[in-house]
């Protein structure tokens, strides 16, 4: 299997990372090398193996649904890239 330039562009779109043609070509080479290495897994027959979904083998705990933090608006907005005291500001989304 090999990954072509069109696939690289498609993945970059899914990952929301813009890349130019030069970078895409470089990535194509890297990804093909890495996937060639990954293909080794196909040597193994895993038809009867159950996938490992949790390493800790514990069930998630329940907790009471209660408010523990109040007045954290300022804290949450503190690292906002564009200043506004009440909201996160982004480019216009709705025309």
């Amino acid at each position: 299997m090999s990954i072509d330039l069109k696939t690289v562009k498609h993945i970059s779109k899914l990952a929301r990372i813009s890349i130019d043609d030069e970078k895409a070509n470089k990535l194509k080479g890297d990804l093909n090398n890495i996937f060639e290495f990954i293909e080794k897994l196909n040597e193994l027959n895993t038809d009867k193996v159950q996938a490992l979904t949790s390493i800790a083998e514990t069930t998630l705990r329940f907790r009471k649904d209660e408010i523990k933090s109040e007045n954290i608006r300022e804290k949450i907005l503190k690292n906002s890239p564009e200043e506004n005291k009440d909201f996160f500001v982004v480019p216009k989304v709705v025309e």
């Binding site: 990954i3 696939t7 690289v8 993945i11 970059s12 899914l14 990952a15 929301r16 990372i17 813009s18 890349i19 990535l27 890297d30 990804l31 090398n33 890495i34 290495f37 990954i38 293909e39 080794k40 897994l41 196909n42 040597e43 193994l44 895993t46 193996v49 159950q50 996938a51 490992l52 979904t53 949790s54 390493i55 800790a56 514990t58 998630l60 705990r61 907790r63 804290k75 949450i76 503190k78 690292n79 906002s80 890239p81 564009e82 996160f88 982004v90 480019p91 216009k92 989304v93």
Partner: protein
Amino acid sequence: MSEITSQSLFELTSNIKEKKLSSGEITKAFIDRAEKSKKLNVYVTDNFEKAIDQSKKFDSNPNFDLKLPGIPIAVKDLFCTNGVRTTAGSKILNNFVPTYESTVTQNLWSQGAILLGKLNCDEFAMGSSNETSFFGNVQNPVGENLVPGGSSGGSSAAVAANLTPVTIGTDTGGSIRQPASFTGTVGLKPTYGSCSRYGIVAFASSLDQAGPMTKNVRDCSMLLEVISSFDQKDSTSIDYKRNSYSKELSKDIKGKKIGIPKEYRVDNMPEEIEQLWKNGISYAKDCGAEIIDISLPHTNYALPTYYIVAPAEASSNLARYDGVKYGFRSPGQNLIEMYEKTRSEGFGDEVKRRIMIGTYVLSSGYYDAYYLKAQKVRQLIKKDFDDAFSKVDAILTPSTPSSAFKIGEKTNDPVSMYLNDIFTVPINLAGLPGISIPAGKDKNNYPLGLQVIGKPFDEQNILNISYALEDKINFKNDISDWWLSE
């Protein structure tokens, strides 16, 4: 009394408790040395001014019952520290100042420790040489232009160079143990679920663990005792009774069964590592341990499995960096363009590469072939260890397939870089505890490490085995301070 900065954590805490040293003296000594050690590039952000204030505050009202009384400690820049910039080695978090504290760092401060600063690391902990950091390479104090390992490269270099008494790193596929091995220091990755992941910048959530990096095994047990705790804020934190690791530390390993896995004998492994391993085995025998040959048949599949699972989880975890709520933002004509430009300019090449791998293996039509397949092989790898641990108490292996390499030597070949973690990755996949201790040197006089792997929650056992081996090995790092400036 030896020079302050070369003292172990054990010595420093004893000297503070016996009032032979003050927190202020110790803190100042480490800061003075850091000012002369800029060439190593271990710090991304220092906290020196506040540290001095805090040390004075400690001295004016000392509490000697604490486990880290007035001890200054620098930590990997992957732990969120309230009010102190936390970058994860990335441009995308270059201006991020957390408004909350990670649980493991909070555990340090609650026991009296003082934050010295934030240590360089590979971007989002993705790397094995600290070369993917937005803030530049770190020099290994062992020798000029050598990598300190990664991703906790600033941490390993800082401990080896006596710039912090101890530190904490994180380990997703070897990021504590490999740099410890490259710098002649001790590094422990605890059992998954031992140390809270709350407030640690996430890379691969089913693999990430925080752990101690220290000069010796005793310090390692002291630090683990402080950072390991059950935490409601981490849904995978496990509630079990933790040992008093430092109190229960013992060199008596008589009758312990130690497994030697034949699959860890890889092609092109330097003869020195083979020899180091043999020495380790004979030391273990000298201590009365029983050596048993074992097999971990799926070892060779661990790295390919890791390079599906870790990037898949990373691509999900790093989806949050979109330039909206925090971090770097690159303006765009519309929202999508803003996302794409922000992520393109904010992430470095290795991080983008891994996000792309992860996005691909999770994308429609490929999930079963890659991600599900990898989760099945991960089960087989875990079963290998389960089987082995029905026969042995611990497993002894080399930590890495080579010693530290030159800066720039492997940056153009991702796969050869990934092979660094061949002995450490299986332990993360199986969620086990593993420790690397310095065990000897290669022909260039660069340190090499041995790894002791334990059963889940059996940190005490691998600490004890390491403590016994450390005594026999009697490793000396003899670093020359070549980087010091006036």
